[in-house]
């Protein structure tokens, strides 16, 4: 599809698409991260930074392009995590500056804005290194300007710079010794290209399901002692001249300012000293300190990855935040193929994989995939989403896979699952007549009851599975318009001894998924 202009609405949709595509591939980007510190968090940091952008846009009641662009720039700076986050925020800021006061932009405006973005990105970094996201943004901006002279189609421009970017990305390995040694391409650059790819997917109407990359193996790096142990970042309100004074106390400095707000990112051993200095320049806030030594060891030692099968954006998000490396799209009535599962397993950067099928129909395919895969795959036979969540929560990163398998089996025993769905046709199951359109409650693969209303069915289902010793009910609903307050009131009235929690699951097929522990 050809696109000849970008306005506020399109930018909003574009940025959302780029974030969701990057988020899906976060683990793959993390796995590439060896520079400047091999600690495997570039993808995570970029996603976090962009998450703040999405949050910021959510509350912005306008489609005015300049406002949206500057909001994106501002929230990305405030939310920036890690050096890649700060650099990304400067790219977004450059884009906003390039957009200026224009209500819509064409392909040439976009290419020129990318050029400003590249300049902004370079100037944030104290010692810019080639072979990083900086090189990438510079080269695609230049290629973009040349291309935009020939074609006004933004879709074509994006595909062209994506192609150029892929070539540059391959060359990063030869530009930066650290990348060559580890035999990887640049992580930040890869992340940025995924963002562009996300926008193209949106334009082309392609599905956002993750196709795992070909077998991903770990970068070739060794355990090493960090020269500087902490990654410190903070915001100073009131000044922009702090760089000179803190330079002495750390390295990998990335500093970016907007108005009177300055974001500082530095790798250092002297966190207290730097904060002390910073306080003299203005009000310091959003102080974040990360122990890179530990992150580095965690990254090197990462041997176990988790792959789950799930459906629904809310459910998938919960699994990701619980530490899942790859979520394979699938569930009731949409079983993933053996190949889908194999490619996900091969796509994680660990030799041992824990696989949660989360549906009894998927266990056979999971078992098949485990046989084919070259990795050591441990299947926890979770039959429902609540079982999968309980199993994942039980994992302790510090212990062995065997002990974790035991912990997970134990956790599954302590959770009861239930689902509510709507009958698609009249039928008879055992004694009960089911009328099309009525709600059916299912627990343990059998029908608990049916009802004309969703709420009544939910209460009926809960009544059959909640016992005195239970302490928490979690309800995953699939409709964003769900009246959670009303639902909560009704349930708490009847089950006053338990905590009741609600989460948006967005799952297909089931109106509610219920977990009782």
């Amino acid at each position: 599809m050809s696109i000849y202009y970008c306005d506020g609405k399109r930018l909003k949709r574009g940025i959302s698409a780029s974030v969701s595509w990057l988020a899906q591939n976060r683990a793959a980007v993390d796995a590439l991260n060896v520079f400047p510190i091999p600690d495997g968090d570039t993808g995570t940091n970029m996603v976090f930074t962009l998450q703040k952008v999405i949050d910021g846009l959510g509350t912005l009641p306008t489609n005015h392009l300049p406002l949206i662009a500057s909001q994106i720039a501002e929230s990305s700076l405030l939310g920036a995590r890690g050096s890649s986050g700060v650099i990304l925020s400067q790219i977004l800021r450059g884009l906003a500056e390039g957009i200026g006061e224009q209500k819509r932009i064409n392909s040439m405006d976009l290419a020129l804005a990318l050029r400003i973005a590249a300049q902004r990105a370079y100037s944030a970094v104290e010692k810019p290194a080639e072979g990083t996201i900086l090189t990438l943004i510079k080269e695609i901006a230049e290629a973009g300007v040349i291309w935009a002279k020939k074609s006004k189609d933004i879709t074509l421009l994006l595909s062209h710079i994506l192609e150029i970017g892929e070539q540059t990305l391959l060359r990063t390995k030869d530009m930066l010794p650290e990348l060559r040694c580890a035999n990887v391409i640049d992580a930040g650059g890869k992340g940025f290209l995924l963002m562009i790819e996300g926008i193209l997917k949106l334009i082309r109407g392609e599905k956002f399901t993750s196709t795992a990359p070909a077998t991903l193996s770990k970068p070739n790096i060794e355990r090493k002692k960090m020269e500087e142990r902490y990654c410190l970042s903070f915001i100073i309100k009131g000044t922009t001249t702090v760089r000179k004074e803190i330079e002495l106390y750390g390295k990998d400095i990335v500093i970016a300012s907007m108005g009177d707000i300055t974001k500082v990112h530095i790798h250092t051993d002297c966190t207290d000293k730097i904060l002390e200095i910073a306080k003299r320049y203005g009000t310091v806030s959003e102080v974040k300190i990360e122990d890179m030594q530990e992150q580095h060891y965690e990254f090197i030692d990462k041997q176990i990855a988790v792959v789950v099968v799930a459906a629904g954006n809310g459910i998938c998000e919960i699994f990701k935040r619980l530490g899942t490396d790859i979520v394979i799209e699938g569930g009731q009535t949409m079983n993933p193929s053996v190949e889908d599962i194999v490619s996900a397993i091969q796509g994680v950067a660990a030799e041992k994989v824990i696989l949660l099928p989360n549906n009894s129909n998927i266990i056979p395919a999971a078992t098949g995939a485990a046989k084919i895969s070259t990795k050591k795959v441990h299947i926890v036979p979770t039959k429902t989403i609540p079982e999968g969540i309980a199993a994942l929560t039980a994992i302790q990163p510090e212990t062995t896979i065997e002990e974790n398998m035991e912990r997970m089996s134990e956790a599954i025993k302590n959770v009861k699952s239930g689902e509510i769905t709507q009958a698609v046709r009249d039928s008879k199951v055992g004694e009960s007549e089911i009328i099309k359109g009525n709600y059916i409650g299912i627990s343990n693969h059998s029908i608990v009851g049916t009802s004309k209303t969703k709420l009544e069915m939910l209460l009926l289902l809960l009544k059959s599975i909640v016992a005195d010793e239970n302490s928490i009910i979690s309800i995953f609903y699939n409709n964003l318009d769900e009246d959670v307050d009303k639902l909560s009131h009704n349930i708490r009235n009847k089950f006053n001894w338990v905590d009741v929690e609600f989460y948006y699951g967005g799952q297909p097929h089931y109106d509610y998924i219920v977990a009782v522990e």
Binding site: Y230, E286, I289, E290, E298, T393, I472, E501
Partner: protein
């Protein structure tokens, strides 16, 4: 007689410090550019009031010079002080803060009061360091995460699905040892953990054909969440054989700045 000196991160109640003649060196907390001596310029309840006010107004958190990354910053200062003074001083790195340190100090001070000599007390402290177990729970992991004291991944897990971690220390680093969903499950988990730990020390006495179970001594601390502390205390009283009275204390500002309010936990040791 031996005098025991510690710093304000030991989180001992003032009454205990006075009773056992424990010297408490105050550490500093700063809210923005304003510095306070813990327990001197700012009381513990005042600290939490100010913490909430400061966080809601400025979005910032107080900073402290200690505990340092290795938790042993005060030891370095103490060693420097020792060099300047010509006295018989032994500096011991407990590797712990808050309840863990407090319980060691309490045991040492009690021994000192009972007239034990320096060598006996040092030996006792070294033994206690290996024996004392610490479990604690924070309501919101964001404070520990901001200070780099817990891995990002762990913090993330804690912020969804109402997952509460039960944390401990290993080599001076905070590690999660269990996770539970929902606050109602925390106490049963504590009970299970202590039981599991104590099971290692149940002895059979063949002479008297009896079973010897250890008794526990607990120091319970909380960061401005007295209800949680009371529930925990009640559980400990009913479920375990406590040798001494359970001491409950507010977590001071230095530790509280890092954990945030809504943190509670215990340090315990055992005797036959």
């Amino acid at each position: 007689m031996v005098k025991i000196i510690t710093d304000s991160t030991a989180d001992l109640p003032e009454t205990i410090a006075t009773q056992y003649n424990i010297g408490v060196v105050p550490l500093y907390i700063s809210f923005g550019n304003k510095m306070y001596k813990e327990g001197v310029d700012i009381s513990k309840p005042e600290f939490y009031h100010k913490f909430r006010e400061y966080e809601s107004l400025s979005g910032g958190l107080p900073t402290t010079s200690q505990p340092s990354s290795k938790l042993s910053g005060t030891c370095e200062s103490a060693n420097r002080a020792k060099k300047e003074l010509n006295k018989d001083i032994t500096v011991i790195d407990s590797g712990m803060v808050s309840a863990g340190l407090g319980l060691i100090v309490l045991c040492a001070a009690r021994a000192a009061k009972n007239g034990k000599n320096k060598e006996q007390i040092i030996e006792m402290i070294e033994e206690a360091k290996g024996k004392i177990k610490v479990y604690f729970t924070v309501e919101n992991l964001k404070y520990l995460e901001k200070g780099g004291r817990i891995g990002k991944a762990q913090a993330l897990v804690g912020n969804i699905l109402h997952i509460l971690p039960i944390l401990s220390f290993k080599d001076g680093i905070i590690i999660p040892i269990e996770k539970v969903r929902g606050s109602k499950k925390v106490l049963p988990k504590y009970k299970e953990l202590i039981n599991r730990e104590m099971a290692n020390f149940v002895k059979f006495n063949p002479k008297e054909n009896s079973i010897l179970s250890p008794q526990i001594e607990v120091l319970l601390v909380h960061a401005d969440c007295i209800e949680k502390a009371n529930e925990l205390e009640a559980m400990l009283r009913t479920s375990f054989n406590c040798k001494e009275a359970i001491t409950t204390s507010l977590i001071g500002g230095v530790v509280g700045s890092h954990t945030g309010p809504g943190t509670w936990g215990i340090a315990f040791t055992w005797y036959y």
